[in-house]
């Protein structure tokens, strides 16, 4: 039996860590459990009793990587319930803000998490010795995402300007215009990123999967859309809880999501790219192709190429929207709360992020529910591992660990912000 601790913990480190336990006997999997701890569950309780107007300041604390996603799912949900008409230009500015987060998150994943795997390094730190220019380029692209997020969100991390009804303050045309040359340069650089990863050997694991994402008739989905799946399901976001159930599993304090009438599914960049292939912008299409993205595909290892394509899309969309940018005037409108249920889904970098708030007539939150993409993908990750591990049983424990981690990392689960994140137990019983 081997035990290897290669984890850097998440927010509630005391509660538990990401862990994978595999019990094998005679080449068969007796048991496989993936445990991932989920911070958002704490926040659901924390939100009850708060006023709706506080929510955009609280929920971004859930995640340092995707604060915008948490703000946007909440803000849109309240605006729908309260029938708020935001000032013209607000949706465009929110899309830029969200694009900034995609750029930042995807470039982190590609350069600090996925690339070291493919180049055979234990971490990005080791990789820096030989891949310094590529790493610097990746961090430069990430920095562009940060800077754009700061300009629109009013603060680099945990943006403060988004609010229900619009923004508390908006950037000037001049401030936004300053990003044009950087975005133009970044569009060249993202193609270079695609060319950098293209020759790297990746495992192939083409397992059929039901891919799920928002779809929208006019745009590649970020802030809005209906839910669609590669199995032909389609429903509006307000039906999410009727269609998707969350199950308690004894081995994890994270819930497992699945369709009520079906099984596990996948949300995230790969699902979005598959379901919205025709809405990929030109450079996104080219970057994806050059990085090896061959749609349609449900191979989780194609996710990195999907992230590169989506980074290009986020750069192109930011550029397009900034060129036509007019600061919303006024930045926000007054909001009158009413009792009811606010729901919304946006596309976080890691996939669909569902929020639901039951609200009293004075705007107090009675109950909150947040279903992050990682919890939606968890069941599928386990199923992937059950299918994948038997194909690599002849490898050493170390190699098996690395490959299993790579499978999970393709999903970019929140916990995977670690260069290594799993505590792996492999119990081979009498075999060795």
């Amino acid at each position: 039996m081997t035990h290897r601790t290669v984890h850097v913990p998440t927010i509630a480190r005391v509660e538990g860590e990401g862990a994978l336990h595999i019990r094998l006997r005679d080449g068969e999997i007796l048991d496989l459990r993936l445990e991932i701890y989920e911070p958002p569950r704490f926040f659901e309780g924390f939100l009850a009793g708060r006023h709706f107007s506080e929510v955009p300041d609280i929920v971004p604390r859930i995640c340092g990587i995707c604060p915008v996603a948490y703000q946007m799912s909440a803000v849109h949900g309240f605006e729908r319930l309260f029938e708020v008409e935001v000032p013209p230009g607000t949706d465009e500015l929110r899309r830029i803000l969200y694009c900034a987060e995609w750029i930042e998150s995807h470039m982190l994943h590609v350069h600090l998490l996925a690339a070291p795997d493919l180049l055979g390094y234990d971490s990005a730190i080791e990789m820096a010795a030989t891949e310094r220019p590529a790493l610097e380029r990746g961090l430069r692209l990430k920095r562009l995402g940060n800077d754009l997020l700061t300009a629109v969100g009013g603060r680099e991390i945990h943006p403060v300007s988004p609010r229900v009804g619009g923004f508390s303050g908006v950037p000037s045309r001049r401030e936004m215009g300053a990003f044009v040359p950087r975005l133009e340069e970044a569009l060249e650089e993202i193609l270079a990123v695609a060319d950098w990863v293209a020759p790297l050997a990746q495992p192939a694991f083409p397992r059929p999967a039901e891919l799920v994402s928002l779809v929208h008739p006019e745009e590649y989905p970020i802030n809005r859309g209906r839910v669609a799946t590669t199995a032909g399901r389609a429903f509006p976001s307000e039906e999410f809880e009727e269609r998707v159930e969350e199950l308690q599993v004894p081995h994890s304090n994270a819930l497992h999501a699945r369709f009520v009438d079906g099984g596990a599914y996948v949300t995230g960049p790969l699902a979005r790219a598959n379901l919205n292939a025709e809405r990929l912008t030109p450079v996104a299409r080219e970057a994806g192709t050059r990085a090896g993205l061959d749609l349609p595909t449900s191979d989780p290892f194609a996710s990195m190429a999907a992230r590169i394509a989506e980074t290009a899309l986020a750069l192109e969309e930011s550029l397009r929207l900034i060129r036509g940018y007019e600061p919303p005037e006024p930045p926000s409108v007054e909001v009158r709360p009413r009792a009811g249920r606010a729901t919304w889904i946006t596309e976080a970098p890691r996939g669909m992020l569902y929020h639901r708030y039951d609200v009293a007539d004075d705007g107090t939150i009675l109950e909150a529910k947040i279903v992050p993409p990682t919890s939606q993908n968890l069941r599928h990750m386990e199923e992937d591992l059950r299918a994948f591990v038997p194909t690599v049983l002849d490898r050493s424990d170390a190699e098996l660990t690395r490959l299993a981690e790579m499978v999970v990392r393709t999903y970019d689960p929140c916990i995977s912000c670690a260069t290594h994140f799993l505590t792996l137990d492999i119990d081979r019983g009498e075999e060795r």
């Binding site: 984890h7 850097v8 730190i125 991390i157």
Partner: protein, 168 residues
């Protein structure tokens, strides 16, 4: 040009994980008016990576957990990053994402060798979301903040730095 940047790390509203943010804020008050010093709060380790750029020296302050325990909560640890980043026995800094401050410092050290980074950590007792700062860490905060300010002042004046070690 910022000569010395003080970076507070951590998560607000998550018990002792907020210690770095609070200490930085307190140090900022002590450093008010000192030219060349900037005090900022990091939103996460990836943000720390950015904040390690653009200053001659950085003082990082964060909550830590000794590997395997064994350090009393409230213990203040001081270490200066070398070419390999921070030594493993400092412990993992308790960031809200797996890529910790240690990794950020390691990467910065690999990409920009010679960059001066002083790390001050306080051993955490509890880091659960929604809890207040624990008593031992709360007691350690004024001393920690003062040490942060002292380090920044020494760095900006070019005075000899503090010594590595831990202090309960």
């Amino acid at each position: 040009m910022t000569v010395v940047r003080v970076v507070g790390c951590g998560t607000p509203s998550a018990a002792d994980d907020a210690a770095g943010l609070i200490a930085a804020r307190m140090a900022g008050e002590e450093l008010a008016g000192v030219p060349g010093v900037e005090v900022v709060e990091a939103g996460g380790p990836f943000h720390v990576l950015d904040l390690l750029e653009g200053a001659h020296a950085v003082v990082l302050v964060d909550a830590v957990r000794a590997p395997g325990g064994g350090r009393p909560p409230g213990t203040v640890v001081r270490v200066e990053a070398g070419p390999e980043g921070l030594p493993a026995d400092v412990g993992r800094s308790v960031s809200s994402h797996g890529f910790g401050v240690g990794e950020a410092v390691g990467l910065a050290a690999a990409l920009r060798p010679g960059h001066r980074i002083v790390f001050l950590g306080v051993e955490a007792e509890n880091v659960a979301a929604g809890w207040p700062v624990s008593a031992p860490v709360r007691r350690a905060l004024p001393g920690l903040a003062h040490r942060v300010a002292e380090e920044a002042r020494r760095l900006v004046e070019g005075a000899p730095p503090g010594e590595d070690g831990e202090e309960a």
